[in-house]
Amino acid sequence: MNGIALVFGTEGPYFDLSGNLVTGFNATVQNALVCAGTNQGSDPLFPTRGTTLLADGTSGKMVNLGLAQTRANIAALNVLSFIQSTDSAQNADMLQDIQFQCQTIKDQNLAIAVKATSTTGKTVGIVINQ
């Protein structure tokens, strides 16, 4: 699978229109990150798409790393379930596992490390404080 690449920067994600494509399992991981950042219920076509991460953060459910990790674990499960259920049957490198590890809470930002593993054993990203 090939797609337009997104760059996840500190200002938020933006399109990489320089000609770089996101390919293979990286495309699947990118879709998983988009799913993680999508508010659950905001897509009328796919009601199970998205997570409550943003809503949890703004409603005081992630005031410390412990609480944030609890919400992040739920979000990871949601993302895994959705990506697996909507993946293409022709995709040979499907998402087998995804982990969210909350790293820091600073100002209004929560830093989450992501580690995704494919069905063929590829790993993208790293969870720092396991």
Partner: protein, 659 residues
């Protein structure tokens, strides 16, 4: 129609587009694009999937609904039921059918205003008078303001006149909403602040006017008008038939000028009337039934004769028991001869065959009848007879189109005339059993010294009513003075030797229904005589498919047989029998090729061999053999347009060559 409808005019609201259909369409798009670009990521979350594919799926789902809505507006049944998506388009569309909205006409009437004082009254024309729930105003023709002059005024237009109890009345025209119904003496309420006003009532029933035409009403009108206009042309009649009976397997129309059309006539004013025949077939298998005909033995012709009491016009005789053969009749083995006659004196030729206007009769040869009911003549009763007696001897021989074998006759002598200078008395005859009437003649019996009258046996009336019987009028002690018997009435009954015969036949069950519809005054067009008929049958008696197939392969002959059966039995103009279709069917079922099809068919312009016109003249109607199943045109009213094949399943045979 000035502006064609734009699809966006029909786009549904968001909540009308089912999410499930969007998801389904999105998935179909994904599958389709994967064929072009297998690596393109179209999954939810992908840039392309989210920003292009999903909106495209939404548009596609909405467009599908828009098209559905547009088609719905084109379907008059929906419009007539009030389902209208784009009223402007529907209004313009309906104009194509010659119907357009008629403006409404207001309700009008006259009201009586009773005043207690004789003086001038002036009030605004906008004053409301409520008759029930309907608001009326004084008609604008009265003027505004309304001026009512006192009694005796010579200049006023509306002048008070004396009323009961020292009161005064004036009558004013009023108008109100279209459709408002107000009956005589209905009392009105009004906001007119006039202290001398005693009452306001309706003077007579109001005319309710007409309500403006709504679009559903117009659509219903169009649906009624469209078929009526249709029955005046071939294409229109076909549309009418297929619109009303969409499940027919075959329908064809012939009109005056076609080789197939031999009916012609004049209306009661003597104006040539064009004819239009509608041929229908509702199923590949005609319905089958049987009738029992009670026939009378005619020793002169050595056969059984009588009418065939078909409740519905036969399309053909049952091929399973032999096509149009004498041995269909289970009590004799001789040959048969069928006769046809039109029941409509204005349409007197074989062109009425296979319709409700044709009656059939039969003569079955039988040299030595063995089982039958004996002939009977019931006693004669007389009325208004002074000096004459009627004697009947002999045995009744039957009549070709007589449905019931027993005749119940009332015969009355009505006048005296001369035939070839012979004094002849005329008698009217009525058979209440068969509801037939006619005339017979009595002439002097020279052998009896001209004292008696005998029935004139050469007359068609005799052949029809009394064939085989001797009827003699005796006037005792007198010479032949028939004037003295005028007015005499005789009642009697008789039958000949009779026996029942069973006939199996095929028929088109929809024919009476369709004929009733097209003869209806609501549908019948001016100066065209429509007639529903079964197709002229081409009965196929031989159909052998000679085909080849490779050793080791199999041919599904049963499936091929059924496909050939359906194909041939549903053919109708402009389609014609094509050998290549048989080849295709065989190839589809495992054969490698068809070398030939051996076939024989017989076209029957009528089930009868002889047509008997109103003057009893007989015309032979020969069937026509075809060995290639092409349909020639003949003088007997058939051709490619109105022939349908009858191919029994059992007739379809296969002759295989393996290689």
């Amino acid at each position: 129609m000035q502006n064609p409808p734009l699809l966006q005019d029909y786009l549904p609201d968001m909540d009308q587009v089912p999410i499930s259909s969007i998801v389904s369409i999105r998935q179909q798009f994904m599958n389709y694009l994967a064929q072009w670009w297998p690596q393109l990521d179209t999954r939810p979350g992908s840039i392309f999937g989210d920003l292009h594919l999903t909106p495209a799926a939404v548009l596609d789902a909405a467009a599908a609904l828009a098209v559905t809505n547009l088609f719905s507006d084109l379907e008059l049944t929906n419009v007539a039921n009030g389902v209208i998506n784009n009223p402007d388009f529907v209004r313009a569309y309906l104009k194509n059918f010659g119907v357009s909205a008629q403006a409404g006409a207001s309700s009008t009437g006259t009201m009586a205003m009773v005043f207690s004082a004789n003086q001038t009254y002036v009030f605004s024309g906008s004053v409301i008078f409520n008759f029930g729930s309907s608001a009326f105003q004084v008609s604008p023709t009265v003027g505004d303001p309304v001026i009512i002059s006192p009694m005796g005024s010579t200049t006023g237009k509306y002048v008070l006149t004396p009323y009961a109890n020292g009161q005064f009345v004036v009558y004013l025209p009023v108008t109100g909403p279209a459709g408002a119904s107000v009956t005589d003496s209905t009392i009105a309420n009004t906001n007119l602040g006039q202290t001398n006003l005693v009452s306001v009532t309706a003077a007579g029933n109001f005319d309710p006017g007409t309500t403006p035409s709504g679009l559903p009403q117009l659509a219903a009108q169009a649906m009624l008008l469209y078929p009526a206009a249709n029955l005046s042309s071939r294409r229109g009649a076909l549309s009418f038939i297929t619109q009303n009976w969409p499940n027919l397997v075959a329908a064809a129309v012939t009109v005056t000028g076609d080789n197939e059309m031999i009916r012609a006539g004049q209306n009661p004013l003597g104006i040539n009337q064009s004819a239009l025949d509608i041929f229908v077939r509702s199923q590949v298998n005609y319905a089958s039934s049987s009738v029992v005909a009670a026939l009378t033995y005619n020793p002169d012709l050595r056969g059984w004769t009588g009418g065939l009491p078909f409740p519905s016009p036969p399309a053909f005789f049952s091929p399973s028991t032999g096509a149009f053969q004498a041995n269909l009749f289970d009590e004799q083995t001789g040959s048969s001869l069928l006769y046809a006659q039109s029941t409509d004196t204005k349409l007197d030729n074989p062109g009425v065959s296979f319709s409700l206007k044709e009656r059939l009769g039969v003569l079955l040869s039988d040299q030595t009848p063995t089982a039958f009911n004996n002939a009977v003549i019931t006693p004669i009763t007389s009325d208004n007879v002074t000096n004459a007696a009627l004697n009947i001897t002999g045995e009744y021989w039957g009549s070709t189109f007589q449905l019931l074998p027993d005749r119940a006759i009332t015969m009355q002598f009505v006048a005296v005339t001369a035939i070839n200078n012979v004094i002849t008395v005329i008698a009217n005859v009525y058979d209440s059993n068969n509801n037939e009437s006619g005339t017979v003649y009595f002439v002097p019996d020279s052998a009896a010294g001209a004292l008696t009258g005998i029935i004139l046996q050469s007359d068609p009336g005799y052949k029809r009513f009394f064939n085989g019987l001797n009827l003699v009028v005796d006037i005792p002690g007198c010479i032949w003075t028939p004037a003295s018997v005028v007015g005499a009435k005789f009642t009697f009954g008789f039958r000949g030797k009779t026996a029942n015969f069973t006939l199996n036949y095929l028929y088109e069950p929809m024919l009476p229904v369709i004929d009733t519809a097209i003869q209806s005054s609501d549908n019948k067009s001016v100066n065209t005589a429509p007639l529903a008929r079964s197709f002229v049958p081409c009965n196929i008696t031989q159909f052998v498919v000679n085909y080849r197939y490779k050793r080791g392969t199999t041919v599904d002959a049963a499936t091929a047989q059924k496909a050939i059966f359906n194909y041939v039995n549903s053919l109708a103009y402009p389609n014609a029998y094509e050998e290549s279709q048989i080849g295709m069917i065989m190839l589809n079922n495992g054969a490698t090729g068809v070398s030939s099809v051996t076939k024989t068919g017989m076209v029957y312009p009528s089930l009868a061999q002889i047509y008997v016109d109103q003057n009893q003249n007989q015309t032979a109607i020969p069937p026509v053999i075809t060995t290639d199943l092409s349909i020639p045109s003949t003088d007997f009213g058939f051709g490619p347009r109105n022939v349908s094949y009858i191919l029994p399943m059992a007739v379809i045979q296969f002759n295989a060559t393996v290689y």
